[in-house]
Symmetry: C2
Subunit: 395 residues, 2 copies
């Protein structure tokens, strides 16, 4: 029986009911501009302040270290461009990885056109950056290391605490170097603590944690100087201009609070669903390859390459059966190239093109997984019947 099953929670999540309730007054009667001095403004200001505390607490930061942005992409832009533009007198070299989100990679590529040098570190077959590679890449003029907390396509968790320690040790030798981590996919799935990580900048997004699309935050460690990017107005302690998106900030605060309070419960449930899927899918479908390290991984992502077929064909076939998945990052859709993340694992073209990301969410049930396990094998079988490479392989 047809059923709608949303398994693309790494692309975006539905809004949590409690989160919706938290923002509703600010879409209605409490509509003031948080910069206004009067009653309506103060009502809005109080909501922004409350949310700032909620977000800060979730990542163990101080409230005034949180800068609200229009999302994870803007947070990454502000982190990287903001940091290097304010500090390029110390050097113009950046270290990042081959599997960063486009909001990091493309910002770095843009900076390369403007006189900066960028080292993109490999991640090898398990999809994890090696600390040794980072150490070797650091130069006299390296001012920024930007390595994600966990990857958005394969879920692999990066050695951010070790990188944080390395950067702090270097700073004790009075080297000027800072560490940014894109934690957009990690928050709400694993513990994210800016003190444990030891990062200077950390990006968060609302719509990956059951808040709406269009809001996010950058954690900026006290004392870290950034060159402002969205300029105009005194908002966010002069670090981000523009009228505050009060309803979504209120929603985001609530979503962070929930992400923190229900972290272990939610993570456990996600992992149960994901593990059920992974333990059974291999029995039902042959010629499968799991992408990325299966241990050091977020609990909700499963990335598989189905040999002999195109991921996009499978995606469309599943969609016709009500199941929503993706071939890679939604932000990269529209690109005709196979996922750069899967390529970075050393996968050949066939495997890169045959990759599908299943990302489970808090609203998924065991029935959803059962439906998936019923539909997916048929879909793969049908596509393989039409696949010349599979026919060749069988002969």
């Amino acid at each position: 029986m047809f059923r709608r099953v949303y398994l693309d929670n790494s692309a975006t999540t539905p809004i949590d009911k409690e989160v919706f309730e938290a923002m509703l007054p600010f879409l209605n009667e409490k509509f003031g501009n948080a910069s206004s001095i009067h009653f309506f403004g103060q009502e809005a200001r109080a909501a922004v302040d409350r949310a700032r505390h909620q977000v800060a607490e979730t990542v163990n930061a101080r409230p005034n270290e949180i800068v609200f942005t229009s999302g994870g992409t803007e947070a990454n832009n502000l982190a990287i461009r903001g940091l290097v533009e304010a500090n390029d007198k110390y050097g113009k070299h950046i270290i990042t990885s081959e599997i960063e989100h486009s909001a990091v990679k493309e910002v770095c590529a843009d900076l390369e056109k403007r006189g900066y040098e960028v080292t993109y570190l490999p991640v090898y077959e398990d999809g994890i950056v090696k600390l040794e590679d980072i150490k070797n890449a650091i130069r006299e003029d390296t001012i920024l290391i930007s390595i994600m907390t966990a990857n958005n396509e394969i879920g692999t968790i990066q050695p951010v605490e070790e990188i944080g320690k390395l950067v702090r040790d270097l700073r004790e030798t009075s080297k000027k170097i800072w560490f940014h981590t894109d934690a957009v996919q990690a928050v709400g799935k694993i513990k994210v603590d800016v003190e444990e990580i030891g990062c200077d900048l950390l990006s968060i997004s609302g719509h990956k944690i059951y808040a709406p699309k269009g809001v996010g935050a950058l954690y900026v460690r006290r004392g870290v100087r950034l060159h402002k990017q969205n300029i105009g107005g005194h908002q966010e302690r002069e670090r981000r201009g523009g009228t505050e998106n009060v309803p979504f900030i209120a929603a985001f605060g609530k979503a962070c609070e929930i992400a923190k309070n229900k972290l272990s419960k939610n993570a456990e449930n996600l992992q149960i669903l994901r593990d059920k899927f992974e333990s059974e899918v291999g029995e039902k479908i042959a010629h499968l390859v799991f992408n990325g390290n299966r241990e050091k991984r977020l609990p909700h992502i499963s990335n598989l390459s189905f040999r002999f077929i195109e991921g996009e064909g499978l995606l469309i076939n599943l969609d016709m059966n009500g199941i929503a998945v993706s071939t890679g990052s939604a932000c990269s859709s529209g690109s005709l190239e196979p996922s750069p993340v899967i390529r970075a694992l050393g996968r050949n073209d066939e495997l890169a093109r045959g990759a599908i990301r299943f990302s489970f969410g808090n609203e998924n049930s065991a029935e959803d997984v059962e439906y998936l396990l019923e539909v997916l094998p048929k879909a793969v079988e049908n596509l393989r019947k039409l696949s010349p490479s599979f026919q060749n392989f069988k002969q």
Copy 2:
């Protein structure tokens, strides 16, 4: 009797009921990421496309000339930085005015630190830029003119059509020069037509026209090249990265449609309220000065300086009586300086500090104005009693 009267509609507006209804499905069941290929994504994509048509139609543009942003500030940043960074091989000189919003002025000031030169044109007592001054300021290396359609504090309408014609004439001589106008305050109050204005770039904001805070758009004339600012992802035809804020984009589309369809009716109602206020306030309060040209002006803004008192004191006094007004732009609040817009009119410190903006909205009624006319004279009188300069003046 105490009453809440919101007269700060230039700072932000409440969300229109129809606009709220238009966005509601996208805060609930239709939560997809517009970049996703599956059903959930396509539902979101359709909403973004529809909104793009609505916004385009409102300013007489083509849909693919509309770039959605996180608000008016981001639209201004993208317009100005985007244009000059993509075109600085033709020159590095910008012309703007002394009364632009901080999202234009501060972006220009930031560019000055990076090797650009900026001419800030005066506006004289009536608050309107002179075309002659623009002509005189244009140099060989001028690449951008950024003049707002109408001012946010005093409402004066600038000669944007004349500037548009001037720029087009110059381009016919094969000069490389472009024209940006910040129309954030003008849309929904007067007709804004990109063909009549003849601009290359035009900024709009949602929350000034009864959509939520956190969404806006930049009109980019076909063929105009911009250097991307919010980088990461293929969204907005490669002109603005980041997951689309689908609910607010849907809301913004609806708000634009309403702004266009009800333009003359709304503008007329606003003007009736404003004129009622202005015709009676002078009879009830002495030593008043109207700021800015009273003819070439948006229909909903009244900016008055009350001699012998501080605007901020009056604002707080009115707020205690339930009336919300402002001393200047909300984006500049927190600054201790008197409004730079009022200063640009040549007003002395006393008048600049005594300025109050009353901005009427679609939800205001004649009763609101009567309440204001009852409360305001008493508030002014009380403050003047405590004012040493007024006591000196009387003697």
